[in-house]
Every structure is written in C-alpha cells, then in structure tokens.
C-alpha cells in the first residue's frame, strides 16, 4: 500500500530506478521508463522498463524483493518504495503511458537542467516489461537528516 502522502508525488513524472537481487545475493539496477498506479485490489504500481535494461527478472532469476527509487531532481526530493515484484510483458497501452510520462519528464528536465528533450523522447522503450509491484514499505530519501525515515506501509 502506498502511503497517502506519496500519492501526490507519484502523480507526476519522476526519475525511477528499480533495484533487484539475484539468486546469488547480488544487487542489480534497471532504469525505468514510467509507471501507473495499479488497479483497485491489484498491485500498487505497474512499472514499465525496457526489457533489455533488466539483467535479471523478479520472480524468475531474481527474488521477488524489489525497490523503487523515485526522485524529482529539480527539488532534490526522493522516496524509496520497497516491496514485492512480478514481471510480465508490457501491454501496448502501458508502453504508451510510459512514453507519455517520459515526454513530460523531458520538458521539465529541459527547462530546469538544459538537457535537450530529445535525449529523453528518443529513448527506446520496446520491447518492454512491466513489473507489478506491491509496496510494503516507503522511505524518505531526500538528501538531508531525514533521509531513510520510514513513512509507513502495510508490513
């Protein structure tokens, strides 16, 4: 379950990275393209990433323990969501929603950091994998003394 305070943060485009652990107990990272809030009664988040970004898949050659680092770099605000994940092929609608999110992220990054929007909008997303994430814990991750503070959850 996603704490209420985080829902507004997650309603806008953010940078997103997925952390995984393989069967040898080694950590892995994958850049994500976007996400949607999950349907009622289902997983909390549907996170889309290009399949080739994933060196391991949760629930297959990695454990189902996942972590998501979401950040808004303009204000140095970040949160980490930990939980369980399951991989499946992304639908066309999910890929399109992720592209739309990256397009919005491109606009804000160009305005704030001067990075050309084309750097983002030309990122290849397909074929893509969706990670269905059930959030168990959330943590503040913004730089400063509050970093690492637990926000709450269902665990």
């Amino acid at each position: 379950m996603i704490p209420g305070a985080l829902r507004e943060f997650l309603s806008a485009p953010r940078w997103c990275a997925l952390g995984l652990v393989d069967q040898r107990g080694r950590p892995h990272l994958a850049r994500c393209g976007g996400w949607q809030l999950g349907p009622p009664g289902g997983p909390d988040l549907l996170v889309v990433t290009r399949t080739s970004f994933l060196s391991v898949l949760p629930g297959r050659d990695a454990s189902d323990r996942v972590t998501l680092l979401m950040n808004e770099s303009e204000r140095f605000v970040a949160y980490q969501l930990k939980g369980r994940g399951k991989a499946r092929e992304a639908t066309a609608a999910e890929i399109e929603a992720a592209r739309e999110m990256m397009g919005k992220l491109a606009v804000t990054s160009e305005q704030h950091w001067g990075l050309p929007a084309s750097l983002y909008t030309s990122i290849i997303l397909a074929p893509a994998t969706t990670i269905e994430v059930t959030v168990e814990e959330a943590f503040a991750q913004s730089p400063g003394p509050g970093a690492g503070e637990r926000l709450g959850g269902t665990a």
């Binding site: 990275a17 997925l18 952390g19 995984l20 652990v21 107990g25 080694r26 950590p27 892995h28 990272l29 850049r31 080739s52 970004f53 060196s55 454990s63 323990r65 996942v66 972590t67 998501l68 680092l69 950040n71 770099s73 140095f76 970040a78 980490q80 930990k82 990075l115 750097l119 983002y120 030309s122 990122i123 290849i124 991750q141 730089p143 400063g144 970093a147 690492g148």
Partner: protein
C-alpha cells in the same frame, strides 16, 4: 578495466544511482552525487547520506552503479566490490571540492557535506545505450 569512453560519466556531472542489498536479500537503492574515477580498476562514490547503504555493504560488499554519460544519457552499468573508506587524501579532497561547487551552483550549500569517499573495485563495466544509434 575502465575504458576511456566511460570517463565523462565518472566526473560527477549527473547524479548516479547505487543499489546494494542486505544479507537477507532486500535491495536498497540510493542516489549519489558523484561516481569518481580513481584508477583503471577503481571508482569512488561520494558518501553523504548512506546509512542503509553502508550497513548493506558491511554485510554484502557488492553493489551495482548506474552513471550517465552527460552528453547522451547512455548508462554505464558498473558492478563493483567495496574495498575501503577514505576520509582524507587526494580523492576525498577532489570530490569535496566538486561537491562544494555543485552546492554553490544549486543554492544548496551545507546540504552536500562529504563524509567519506567509498572506494570500490570494478568487477565489470558495460555501456547501456538508451537511444537508437544515429
């Protein structure tokens, strides 16, 4: 060996990401201000707000780093093993200086205090292209 092509991504221009895990297999991801070239087989990571990351590295010394080439946003994926913590010396001084410059440019002086330079041995490094070749 770190290829020359990776050097622009190892100058702290864009914040990077580190993933570690605990002995019981829970991953933890954190942003880092800098991943810094030390020598052909080592990088340094700026340690500012790393409580969970450091606990994990004491249990499992392995990590994965993602750092972007600032010209293309292509990702250098670096698999590393933690070897030591430096709180002084030339690497620490260079990283602290750059962090002060970042703080000055972004109006966040005092937020980016460098506690240590965490030194990692590079086990593998791979370029992940994010866009179509032009």
């Amino acid at each position: 060996m770190i290829p020359d092509a990776a050097r622009p991504a190892l100058e702290g221009a864009i914040p990077a990401t580190i993933c570690t895990c605990s002995a019981d297999g829970v991953p933890n991801a954190s942003q880092v201000s800098q991943v810094w070239y030390v020598d052909p087989t080592h990088v340094a990571v700026s340690h500012q707000f790393f409580s969970k990351t450091m606990r994990n590295l004491r249990e499992v010394p392995y990590a994965t780093l993602h750092t972007n080439d600032p010209r293309t946003l292509d990702i250098w994926q670096i698999k590393v093993r933690h070897t030591e913590t430096q709180r002084e010396g030339p690497v620490f001084d260079q990283m602290a200086l750059q962090l002060e410059a970042i703080a000055s440019m972004t109006g966040t002086t005092g937020l980016w205090h460098l506690k240590a330079a965490e030194i990692f041995e590079v086990e593998s490094i791979e370029l992940i292209r994010v866009r179509e070749a032009t």
